[in-house]
Symmetry: C2
């Protein structure tokens, strides 16, 4: 994955471009090549592999999604948003560069994702490439991730119902994880029924991921996560852990994990890696 991300970000200016400013590309590389779990691209690739597709085109589609994720981190970290100085154990983009560069690097990563997803090798059928592109826009946009970040900012210092928090999380974190699993199935020409199954799998691990993340924010130290912790409580943000309590949250995570495994069971051994990822998400401690 690193090689694919780096390869896409080292191409010199292509047809239709003039030149790619060095400092901008440097900031984009800093944002995209800075490690991280690569959870979303791995989900795309593993889901596609479930249906027998493992070629480079899948990696490019997976990279497009990772660019979207990386852009969102750059913008979310900005002073006007979550105001984070550290990410993955090193300065955030606006700290390592400056705010204007961080805004433009985020914009450019977001834009570049729609160049990558349209690549010929992503799928032989242009209608499938268009479907992937359009669904990516919806997962990332006002009705998905960006909308979820808006709801999250609005929730600071306010009472929120459990349903409101679940909607927020389904959008902010869930939409891209849902897309990752859905896109993998679409890339590999899975049946609409199987696409729906994997979509539900993506939704479930999205929820488990967010619950585990909320638990970490309550329980972990900055040394464990490489970023500031306790920020939700500090910002007065309502979380499910706050409403349900730690133990009930753990119970729900286990229930979700079981449901995820149930969804994967018809796929047998081919789903072993996805099953392990679900378990990793549910039980991660960093």
């Amino acid at each position: 994955m690193e090689t694919v991300l780096e390869g896409l970000l080292t191409t010199v200016a292509v047809d239709g471009e003039t030149t790619r400013p060095a400092r901008l590309v440097e900031a984009m590389r800093y944002a995209a090549l800075g490690g991280g779990k690569r959870l979303r691209p791995v989900l795309v690739m593993e889901t596609a592999a479930l249906f027998g597709r493992t070629d480079d085109g899948v990696c490019i589609a997976a990279a497009a999604l990772e660019f979207i994720h990386c852009y969102s981190l750059v913008h979310d970290d900005l002073p006007a948003m979550d105001d984070d100085d550290m990410r993955r154990g090193r300065p955030t983009v606006h700290k390592a560069f400056d705010e204007a560069t961080a805004i433009l690097a985020g914009d450019s990563l977001l834009t570049f994702a729609f160049d990558a997803i349209a690549h010929d090798s992503v799928h032989v059928d242009p209608l499938v490439r268009l479907r992937l592109s359009r669904e990516l826009a919806r997962a990332a946009g006002m009705g998905g991730m960006a909308g979820g970040q808006m709801l999250d900012l609005e929730s600071e210092g306010r009472e929120r119902s459990e349903q409101d928090i679940r909607t927020l999380q389904a959008m902010k974190t869930g939409a891209l994880l849902r897309y990752a699993c859905r896109a993998g199935a679409i890339l590999a020409d899975a049946s609409e029924q199987d696409i729906d199954r994997l979509t539900r799998f993506g939704e479930i691990i999205g929820l488990a991921f967010q619950l585990a993340d909320d638990l970490l924010d309550v329980e972990a130290t900055p040394e464990m996560t490489g970023k500031a912790t306790g920020k939700d409580a500090e910002a007065g943000k309502a979380t499910l852990v706050g409403l349900l309590g730690v133990e009930a949250t753990r119970t729900e995570i286990s229930r979700l994990l079981a449901e995820a495994q149930e969804i994967l069971s018809p796929f047998g051994e081919k789903a072993e890696t996805l099953s392990a990822i679900a378990a990793f998400i549910a039980h991660r401690d960093h």
Copy 2:
């Protein structure tokens, strides 16, 4: 055009979306429906009309480009970028709302453009829709508009050669205008030769537009333009007007206008509107 832009931004959450947060949509509408010349979408529609295509699908493609333009204005106006409080005679988005909302509204307009451009009605051939989407990403991204804004920020207080300024302007302002004319020709199934002609037309009016804009910044008052003027000199930004002088700039604008009319001449009367637009750009005083 207003109706199409408004229609696209009033759709309730569609397939693949959860909900569209009201405040975010409000900020997007404020940014996109706030008037302006609509130069880019008009160029798309007039170029397509040149080759006989005038249906709603063209308007949707034109709206996608306008969303990109509007997002760029929202982000460029941010305090960390050009720090403008006024735009089109009213407060900029981060002043009317707040910085976080402005960042997310810009991100969401950018993302939504790639939903719109993939609309079935844009072109019957999915390969053409993909081409338009991918070229839009390149015109808007690191090798186009966003890259140009990066170069512009870097040029503050520095000596720049004429060539550097021309590259910057070809990217920051030129890339979308070039795309507008190119996209119109592509939408209407023009020959590759005609697409190239209209691409050159777009490049020329992009340059004329920027020169006229630089002249306005030197000569106009805030009352005339609805925004702050004299900002380039204040920010120490090198412009072609600064290097060439006002008279030589006027001469170049006239030369460009003549070249644009020459390119349009084989199209005869069908090109009258485009010809008028070129003249308007070259001689606008607000």
